[in-house]
């Protein structure tokens, strides 16, 4: 970023004398201008400093403004973790040029849902409260809102409580919003972000244009409620997002006990945009593995794949007949 320090800003800055007192004033003015610019750009101050000013209307307990994926290799890409006061876009990889299959969507949605689990866990841990992961199902965790247009719900079916519980979300603390039109969904997401009642909002829409995306981003910033926006894999990316992730499903990890069964889910992740550290966006994709036990992402170990190769040679009887229906 470039900015011009105009001498009209403050008479103290224009002084050319090497007076140390004036230098101190100059430094403090520059510092205050920097912090103002940071504030305008809604970037929290650098690592370590309190992210929210003391006079913020948010209660002290809400001042957890970041969360991480749990995997150091990935978290190092982000200077401050995932910012809670921002909009994060997640896109699948389209399997065709114009269209996307349900599987492409599912990769993005699955990644978003697990980021939401991370957010809730981080939040609970920050409250140094009653056990983090045991919160699921106990009905005392924070609420999560899920919003999508009816047309997508018709294609993928409805979120299932049992399935959400196996992802790690508490189904009894989930509000599902289904709107008739995509525009309504964006409005509802914005309204939810402003409500200060939710730990995270997961929005699934075809596309968010610049203006709605900017509105969502501002609403998220006001209340430090993060918004995870899953958009159509083949649509134009939304502007005004803090990060954008491109997610593809990798073959799952080998199952601990059954070599023929799917194991822990793996995602191939590329960070396409990172407002806080643009140079991170150029990195090559990495393969992450989600663990249901530790509830965090980890780098998938390729070496661990070796037992999977023995799959064919397990001596299991070939079915007597194979029929097609």
């Amino acid at each position: 970023m470039r900015f011009l320090l105009d001498s009209r800003v403050s008479p103290a800055v224009s002084g050319l004398s090497p007076d140390p007192g004036k230098d101190a004033v100059k430094d403090s003015v520059i510092e205050s201008l920097r912090s103002r610019i940071l504030h305008i750009e809604r970037h929290a101050p650098r690592r370590g400093a309190s992210a929210v000013p003391e006079n913020s209307p948010l209660p002290r307990s809400r001042r957890r403004l970041r969360w991480e994926l749990g995997c150091p290799a990935c978290d190092d890409l982000l200077p401050r973790g995932l910012e809670a006061n921002s909009l994060h876009e997640i896109k699948g990889v389209p399997s065709a040029i114009h269209g996307a299959s349900a599987a492409d969507w599912m990769a993005g949605i699955g990644f978003a849902a697990r980021l939401a689990v991370r957010r809730i866990d981080t939040f609970a841990a920050g409250e140094e409260a009653h056990a983090s992961s045991s919160m699921a199902g106990s009905g005392i965790g924070p609420w999560v809102l899920w919003c999508w247009p009816r047309q997508l719900a018709g294609e993928f079916g409805s979120p299932s409580a049992a399935g959400l519980a196996s992802l790690g979300l508490d189904p009894s603390r989930l509000i599902i919003v289904e709107t008739a039109r995509a525009g309504d969904a964006l409005n509802a997401i914005e309204e939810s972000l402003r409500a200060q009642s939710l730990a995270v909002v997961i929005g699934i829409v075809e596309e968010a244009e610049l203006t709605p995306a900017r509105r969502l981003s501002l609403a998220a910033g006001e209340t430090a409620t993060p918004c995870l926006l899953v958009t159509h894999p083949a649509s134009e990316p939304a502007g005004a997002t803090a990060t954008r992730w491109r997610v593809q499903r990798g073959g799952s990890a080998p199952h601990t006990f059954d070599p023929r069964a799917p194991g822990a889910p793996r995602f191939s992740i590329a960070l396409e945009r990172c407002r806080a550290r643009p140079e991170s966006a150029a990195r090559s994709p990495m393969l992450l593995e989600w663990s249901d036990e530790t509830r965090r992402f980890d780098l998938a170990s390729i070496v661990a794949d070796i037992p999977a190769q023995a799959r064919g040679a397990d001596g299991r009887a070939v079915p007597a007949a194979v029929r097609a229906y």
Partner: protein, 508 residues
């Protein structure tokens, strides 16, 4: 219709066409309701007629009753040609009862409705005054508070809402005015009639008119718990003014609710336009609310839909339903108590905008069949039920183990797929879903889910029996995961229909 022309509404009766109603000119000529049209035509050949439409009359009367809500929330139609309005505690808004009556009769006359109004302490007395007590030169007559005896004493006994046969009997006894009944001891009045129920009927009507006996009546709409209203000398047209006054009403209502320790659950704003029409906007809350700011947030979204027309001269805000606002414990040492606001306000706003069924929550349901094991309920109702049950935010636990691997999305109806699989219980090797073939890389299963046995108990021979499902969790070569099931078994199940395969869910 030229008003000077005699005019009658007719209806086909037992003896040909009969007149049911006449206009003023016809009445002056001596044409009465009940005479046959032929007779009337013989005397007055220029009499115009139209068939009567009682159904339309009734609808018009109901419309009028809706309009009459501006004079009091409790009102309904009375017979085929009357309205009653409970104006208790309302008259001061119009500057006294006389002014209220003047205002109402002038409005009705300006709509072209002939009106006779009566105002009294009881419904019976008001009825008598309206129908029998109006002086010829006035549109209304009023019995001052607790002077009912005197006010209706001179009215004929017909005013008592009795059967014609009983009226006839009273007249035969020489009792022509209501006042004559006052002086007769009740026991001797009963003795004068042959049967005791005639006497009882007369006494009941008399007591109701005089207020000695309660007369239950059902208003058109359930009466609101609390209601605040404001009348304006000059009709309001700008939406800013409407909003500002609604805000005042909301503050007033909130104060009244707080004083009674109540919270509103259903809120209704009614605006009466100067031309006699009215409109409403309503909002529902998931928890009892006495916060004017929240009420306004819900109402103001719908302000754009208000059509002020020729201006709004009365605004009324009703708490249609209200609930006790209990103290709500946030949970014992729950850290989230302070961190997050209750989501009920958000739910209210979303419901207000998107409709009740668009905002749902998942709750357990009594079944082990995957699509029946959970149910989606409107969040508005669930949050209301869960906050009103005094146990702070307790939700019943889910009935299945936490680590059960189930798909995040369940298709609303399992979709048939074509599968290549091993017999009898091998997992699919490949399948075609939505016209795309997918090769299966890994599979886990079967997980057998038996049908609910209690549903099969009373099935007839020819009815289809629910079949066993064998579920598989499969992953295709692209890494996408699906939940598929084989409906039916290859062997060992009654009804030898071949099993079919369905895709039921998608793992995220």
């Amino acid at each position: 219709m030229p008003s000077q022309q005699p005019f009658a509404l007719i209806e086909s009766g037992a003896h040909g066409l009969a007149i049911v109603a006449v206009n003023e000119t016809a009445a002056r000529l001596g044409i009465e309701a009940g005479t046959s049209l032929a007779d009337a035509r013989a005397a007055h050949p220029d009499l115009l007629s139209r068939p009567a439409e009682p159904e339309k009359d009734r609808i018009a009367l109901l419309k009028l009753a809706r309009w009459a809500g501006r004079y009091g929330p409790n009102r309904h139609i009375d017979g085929n040609d009357g309205l009653w309005i409970d104006v208790s505690g309302v008259a001061h808004l119009f500057g006294g009862e006389e002014n209220l009556l003047n205002d109402m009769t002038q409005h009705l006359l300006s709509f072209g409705v002939a009106v006779q109004a009566g105002l009294a302490d009881t419904l019976g007395a008001a009825h008598a005054l309206a129908r029998f007590g109006c002086p010829p030169d006035a549109a209304w007559s009023m019995a001052p508070v607790s002077e009912t005896h005197a006010a209706i004493g001179f009215l004929p006994v017909e005013a008592l809402r009795l059967d014609a046969s009983r009226i006839l009997l009273l007249k035969r006894l020489g009792l022509r005015h209501i006042g004559q009944l006052y002086d007769i001891p009740r026991d001797s009045l009963a003795r004068r009639f042959r049967s005791s129920d005639v006497a009882a009927a007369v006494l009941v009507r008399l007591d109701q008119a005089l207020g000695a006996m309660e007369e239950p009546r059902r208003p058109m709409l359930p009466p609101p718990v609390l209601s605040v209203a404001r009348a304006f000398a000059e009709p309001l047209i700008s939406s800013e003014a409407l909003e500002a006054f609604t805000n005042e009403l909301a503050n007033e209502l909130a104060a009244a609710l707080a004083a009674k320790d109540l919270g509103v659950r259903v809120l209704r704003l009614t605006f009466y336009r100067a031309d006699g029409t009215s409109g409403t906007i309503a909002a529902a809350m998931s928890t009892p609310c006495h916060d004017a700011r929240h009420m306004m947030a819900l109402l103001s979204e719908k302000f754009s839909s208000i059509d002020a027309g020729f201006g709004v001269d009365i605004l009324r805000l009703d708490a249609v339903r209200a609930g006790k606002r209990g103290a709500n414990q946030k949970g014992f040492g729950s850290p989230q108590g302070a961190a997050f606001r209750d989501p009920s306000e958000l739910v209210d706003r979303l419901v207000n905008r998107l409709g009740r069924d668009a905002i749902t929550v998942l709750r357990p349901n009594g079944s082990h069949i995957p699509e029946r094991a959970e149910i989606r309920l409107p969040a508005l109702d669930v949050l209301a039920a869960e906050t009103s049950s005094r146990v702070a935010s307790y939700t019943p636990p889910w009935p299945y183990p936490k680590r059960l691997l189930r798909p995040a999305f369940m298709l609303s109806r399992p979709e048939p797929i074509q599968v290549t699989a091993g017999v009898p219980d091998g997992p699919p090797a490949s399948f075609i879903w939505r016209r795309v073939e997918r090769r299966v890389a890994r599979a886990e299963g079967p997980e057998r889910i038996a049908p609910e046995w209690w549903r099969t108990l009373y099935l007839d021979e020819d009815q289809k029996r629910p079949r066993t499902r064998d579920y598989y969790r499969i992953e295709d070569q692209q890494g996408a995961m699906y939940w598929v099931f084989r409906h039916g078994l290859y062997e060992g199940e009654e009804g030898s229909e071949r099993p079919s395969w369905f895709l039921h869910g998608l793992f995220a």
